[in-house]
């Protein structure tokens, strides 16, 4: 069950059995065999009990339960019905899932995956290599998901199936971040997805089977009795509710909920010291808040103006008063698991209004009046930061108007530039916990083509493309340093602080796994004490 050694540049660590030990929030846990691909935060002593129903609540409502959809809200709902080929552990090492072992060519242009045998879809049909090929090709359709996964899927110029349990993927350019891509590929069932019930029922190979979806209210899944990980899952059932923040917090405290994702900040802080609850922050969600500029329009085409604005961001106040210290200021997007993480560079832009004023003067900017486009419903914290920002900017002669629009309008404006906006935009972002090139590939705030900040720069393009194909770790380090310096200097999209994915759980919930995709958790190893 170990990965192959014919791989240059990545290291495999021998697995350690047993559960991880209690971890302070913010650091990662141990890697290991499949049974412990997680940083669990409970003492290892207790023996898991089977049975029970877990009640999970979050405010995000999945708009689609399609396994290949990457629209929000899906992690603790639809994604639990599926498996992926491999799964990262807390150290960003891929662990076997549907792929038992793999061979990666030294030029990173050919990837051979050996599939686990005897895995069944929930319909009873056995998983074969055809299903993997089907999924990869399906991801290319722009109407599925949202084009991001298509970007990954399009890497693979050839997919060969030498037999029913082998898949060989070939790419044109070297893809050392291969595992970042397949981390997000939920393997779907062709019969389900093309059948008549596609929208009302989903079938995968995952630890839980689909039971019911009441859009906007709850999503129910039940234990997959034929799961290939024998003995898992422990739980009989999980019901994921969609609730507003106050209600779900109150329900948690009146024993109406077991796990709450992203509760109210004050409730989280208050219950941290309460022994009846566990208050955790996802150690590697890779999510953060950011602000960008429309760099195509003056005065934001001048990097000095952008830097000035960067110096005017009172990140500390935001983290203290609004996020109650659950969030940490950022200058660079990376979380600790990312190879590009650089603690020192994260405090380059201190809150320095004098510096900001000087930079504005140097750029000859005069008084500026501009607007910031935010989505108060989807990212209320950004709206609050925008008010702090407004206050700070007023002190250096900049008038910032808040344009609080609905999600649909926010997306349309930034993607299609319709209507064109002239100022700043603010929102939340993710995938900063994987390889940096993945962020640059996926994130609309940072990508090369048509990013929200309308930023185009030759140096940037070169750097990003190199990052995508560089496989030598020493060269990578150097590249990341250059990238980080570039990001800091150009400030076209500016991270503000981490967006902590907080969880409040009752004390008896054990074995929750923090996954390395999209700040999600998995309940495969979860049991109720």
């Amino acid at each position: 069950m170990r990965a192959n050694r014919a791989v240059r540049g990545t290291q495999q660590r021998p697995g350690r059995p047993g559960n991880g030990r209690r971890q302070p929030s913010g650091t990662s846990g141990a890697s290991g065999t499949l049974a412990s691909t997680s940083a669990t935060v409970q003492p290892a002593a207790a023996q898991p009990k089977t049975g029970g129903s877990l009640r999970f609540a979050q405010t995000a409502n999945p708009v689609s339960i399609d396994g290949n959809s990457i629209a929000g809200g899906g992690n603790e709902t639809a994604w639990l019905v599926f498996d992926r080929l491999t799964q990262y552990d807390q150290n960003r090492q891929p662990q076997p899932m549907l792929a038992e072992s793999w061979d990666i060519a030294s030029d990173f242009k050919q990837f051979k995956l050996n599939l686990r045998k005897g895995v069944q879809f929930h319909s009873g049909r056995e998983l074969t290599s055809d299903d993997v090929k089907y999924t990869v090709l399906r991801l290319r359709e722009s109407t599925v998901g949202s084009g991001i996964l298509a970007g990954f899927s399009n890497w693979f110029t050839a997919i060969d199936l030498p037999d029913k349990s082998t898949v060989v993927l070939r790419t044109d350019s070297p893809r050392p971040t291969f595992f970042d891509a397949i981390e997000l590929f939920n393997i779907v069932d062709k019969d389900n997805v093309e059948g008549p019930e596609a929208k009302s029922k989903i079938i995968g190979t995952g630890p839980f089977t689909f039971v019911e979806w009441q859009n906007g209210d709850h999503f129910t899944i039940a234990k997959n009795k034929n799961y290939w990980q024998s003995g898992r899952p422990y739980l009989d059932e999980i019901v994921s509710y969609v609730r507003n923040q106050q209600t779900m917090d109150l329900q948690l405290e009146s024993n109406g909920m077991d796990v709450v994702k992203i509760p109210g900040v004050d409730d989280f802080v208050r219950l941290k010291s309460d022994p009846d609850y566990q208050a955790t922050i996802h150690p590697a969600s890779g999510t953060f808040f950011e602000i960008g500029f429309n760099t195509a329009r003056p005065p934001f085409d001048d990097p000095r103006v952008r830097q000035a604005f960067n110096y005017a961001m009172d990140r500390k106040r935001f983290c203290d008063t609004i996020m109650r210290n659950t969030a940490v200021p950022l200058n660079l997007p990376w979380s600790a698991t990312s190879p590009a993480y650089d603690a020192a560079k994260n405090s380059v832009y201190t809150y320095d209004l004098d510096r900001a004023r000087a930079l504005l003067k140097e750029a000859g900017a005069g008084t500026i009046e501009t607007g910031i486009l935010v989505n108060g419903i989807g990212a209320p914290q950004v709206l609050q930061f925008a008010q702090i920002f407004q206050d700070s900017l007023a002190q250096i002669g900049v008038k910032l108007n808040l344009q609080n629009v609905e999600p649909a309008i926010w997306v349309d404006t930034l993607i299609n530039k319709k209507p064109d906006y002239t100022g700043l935009w603010g929102g939340s972002d993710q995938i900063a916990q994987l390889a940096p090139s993945t962020l640059f590939q996926l994130s609309p705030g940072w990508r090369l083509d048509n990013n929200h900040s309308a930023y185009k720069n030759e140096m940037w393009t070169t750097l990003v493309n190199s990052a995508l194909s560089e496989s030598d770790p020493t060269k990578q380090k150097d590249l990341y340093t250059r990238l980080n310096d570039f990001i800091l200097d150009q400030s076209f999209t500016v991270p503000i602080a981490t967006y902590p994915y907080t969880f409040l759980m009752r004390a008896n919930v054990m074995g929750v796994q923090y996954q390395l995709h999209n700040g999600g958790v998995s309940f495969t190893d979860t049991w109720l004490a």
């Binding site: 004050d266 409730d267 709206l383 609050q384 008010q387 609080n404 629009v405």
Partner: protein, 307 residues
């Protein structure tokens, strides 16, 4: 011979002709208003309303701080000597925000009454007076609009226009035009066949002139009660929509929006919910009492029965 009019009587030689001393009767509106403030509830309503209007007009002078200024380090405080109502999550003075919050609430109420009222009354006038196909068309449009759940209509209009105080006012105005129009129409219908209208038309007065000069003043007085109630409804609707996230945008203060943000801080700083809630209730109470008093004042039967 049959007596058909006063002139018959006076001109008849059989009766002595004396001109009784008649005191000039006060204008009906003035009389009604005097009745209103003699009514203790009406008086109470008018006082509250005046206080709040005063607060709205003189907000810059009477509020202790600028409502948008964030006092760093002083967030989420309860009432104290420096901030009488405490502060919100960004350190802004709650008392000042409550005072300034009178502006969006009252201006929305006025705009709704203005836009919706004028449109509704005009439409009702047209429907009631013109009759025929104009009436049928308008009534069907009203029926369709009326069948729309008001809050969803408001939501949709705001989604189309974007958030903001005037947009909220327009949204609410659109929602109330049908019911105002219906009331106006029925009042007009009542008046339309009255003698004085027929008389005016006999004399040759044109439709519009009759409508505006004769029918409108008589139809308006009962409408005043509706308008007062409408203001109350508008204030509540604005707060409701602000509560759902639409309406006046941050950092401008608005009671509904303040109540919405208070939800996240109920345990930490309940004062965020108390100030705006109380003032909102006061405004609505005042408007309701005023409407009640006006209704009593304008009710002819109560007037005539000396009650």
């Amino acid at each position: 011979m049959a007596v058909r009019s006063a002139t018959d009587v006076v001109a008849s030689p059989a009766l002595p002709v004396t001109t009784p001393q008649v005191r000039k009767s006060p204008h009906p509106f003035a009389a009604a208003f005097r009745r209103t403030w003699r009514n203790p509830l009406g008086l109470f309503g008018m006082i509250i309303l005046s206080l709040l209007v005063f607060a709205a007009l003189f907000a810059p002078f009477i509020s202790p701080y600028d409502p948008i200024v964030q006092h760093q380090g002083k967030e989420l405080q309860g009432p104290n000597a420096q901030f009488w109502f405490g502060t919100d999550e960004l350190g802004r003075d709650l008392l000042s925000r409550v005072i300034w919050g009178t502006r969006p609430s009252l201006s929305v109420a006025l705009m709704v009454v203005g836009i919706g009222g004028v449109l509704g009354i005009l439409a009702g006038l047209a429907a009631g007076y013109l009759g025929g196909w104009a009436d049928a068309l308008l009534m069907r449009i009203f029926d369709a609009l009326f069948a729309f759940p008001a809050i969803l209509l408001g939501f949709v209009v705001i989604a189309a226009l974007g958030p903001g105080t005037s947009q909220v006012a327009i949204a609410i105005a659109i929602a109330v035009v049908p019911s105002l129009g219906r009331v106006a129409r029925s009042l007009v219908l009542k008046e339309r066949y009255r003698d004085y209208v027929l008389a005016a038309r006999c004399v040759g007065a044109g439709s519009v002139r009759v409508m505006l000069k004769h029918v409108l003043p008589n139809a308006v007085s009962p409408m005043i009660v509706n308008l007062a109630l409408l203001m109350g409804f508008a204030v509540l609707a604005e707060a409701g929509l602000a509560f759902l996230g639409l309406g006046t945008q941050p950092p401008q203060p608005s009671w509904g929006a303040m109540l919405n943000s208070s939800r996240a801080y109920l345990r930490v700083d309940p004062w965020m919910a108390i100030g705006p809630g109380i003032v909102l209730a006061m405004l609505l109470l005042g408007l309701n009492y005023l409407a009640d008093a006006l209704r009593e004042a304008f009710d002819p039967r109560r007037v005539n029965a000396g009650l």
